[in-house]
Subunit: 157 residues, 2 copies
DNA sequence: ATCAATGCAAATAATTTGCAAAAAG
DNA sequence: CTTTTTGCAAATTATTTGCATTGAT
C-alpha cells in the first residue's frame, strides 16, 4: 500500500473511532499500524504477532475485538477459505471488488480484479431481484504453469 | 433432484465406496439416502437429523466421517459462508458451477448459473497461469426487490 | 471522576479423534 | 475370522466472553 494511501486509511480509521466514541488506546494503535505495515493476508494469530512488535502488551482478546472494527470500517476484508481460521485481507480498502485464486498445492493466493466480471455480476444480481452489497469469488486451481515459471514450490507453505 | 438423476447419483456413490474398499453400512446408506431426499442446503447437524429418520442409530461422528466421502465423490459441495459451521449443497453433482446470492436480511440463498461467468472465469484463470479446479462465487445483497414481491420476510429465518 | 478498553482465564461450539465393541465381507 | 466402521465421550482449536483492573477523556 503506497505511503499516501496508507496515511489516508489511517486517518479514516481514526475518524471512525471518533464517530463511534471509541478510544484510541495504544493497543488499537499498534494493531492498526501493524495492518498498515503489510500487503499480505494474515490470520488473527499473525496479526497478534505483528501488533506485538509495535506494542508487546497487545493481547489476543484485543486483536479479536479490534478485527470487527477494521472490517466494519472497510479497512480489511474477512475471508473464509474453508479452513478453521479466518483470513484477513488488508488490500480491500483500495480494491473492494478484488477476487482470489488459490493454488490447491501450495496455498498461494493471487488477487485479481476484472471490470467485466463486476459488470456481469451486477447484471445477474439485478436480474434475480437483488441489490448487490458485496461479492466474493474464490477460484481454486493448480498453478502448474506457475511451477514452470518457478513460482510455486508445490508444497504447503 | 429428478428421480432418474437421483438413482444415478446413488449408483455412483455405491461404486465409489466399492472402489475404495469401503463398506456399505446401514448408517452410510441412511446418510446417503437423506442427502438424496433433499434439494436444500444443510448443515452437518441437519444431516444428522435427516439421516436419523432413515436409521435412528446414526451418530454425529459418522455424519462427520461420511461428509468428506460425499464431497470427495462430488455428490455434495462444501460451502463456507463465514459462519462457524459449514453448509453442504446437494445440488452440486448436477450443477458443479452454480453460484449463490445470499440475502443479508433474511439469509435466503438463491442459486444461479451463468455460462458467460464460467467462461470469463476460465479466461482470467488461464491468463494468470492457473488450471481451474473449482470455483465459488458468493454475492451478498439485499433482496429489496424480492420483498416487494413478498418473498422476503426480512428477518433471519 | 467516568466509562470504555484491557488482559486473563474460563467458556463456547463445531469438528475431530482414540478406543473398545459391533458389523461387513 | 479379519478388517473396517461405529458410537461414545473426551480432545481439539479458533473465537468469544465475564470480570476485575487499567487507562483515555
Amino acid at each position: 500500500m503506497p505511503q499516501v494511501e496508507r496515511q489516508a486509511a489511517r486517518e479514516r480509521f481514526l475518524q471512525f473511532l471518533e464517530q463511534k466514541n471509541l478510544r484510541l488506546t495504544s493497543q488499537r494503535k499498534a494493531i492498526v499500524d501493524a495492518v498498515f505495515a503489510t500487503d499480505r493476508h494474515f490470520t488473527a494469530e499473525q496479526l497478534l504477532e505483528m501488533a506485538r512488535k509495535h506494542d508487546p502488551t497487545v493481547s489476543r482478546a484485543t486483536v479479536y475485538r479490534t478485527l470487527p472494527l477494521l472490517t466494519e470500517n472497510g479497512l480489511v476484508h474477512e475471508m473464509d477459505f474453508g479452513k478453521d481460521y479466518k483470513v484477513y485481507d488488508p488490500n480491500y480498502a483500495e480494491h473492494p471488488n478484488h477476487n482470489h485464486i488459490i493454488c490447491g498445492d501450495c496455498d498461494k493466493i493471487v488477487e485479481f480484479e476484472s471490470d467485466k466480471l463486476d459488470q456481469l455480476e451486477n447484471e445477474i444480481t439485478h436480474r434475480l431481484g437483488f441489490a448487490i452489497k458485496s461479492q466474493q469469488l474464490r477460484i481454486t486451481g493448480s498453478c502448474d504453469e506457475l511451477k514452470k515459471l518457478g513460482a510455486c514450490r508445490n508444497k504447503h507453505s
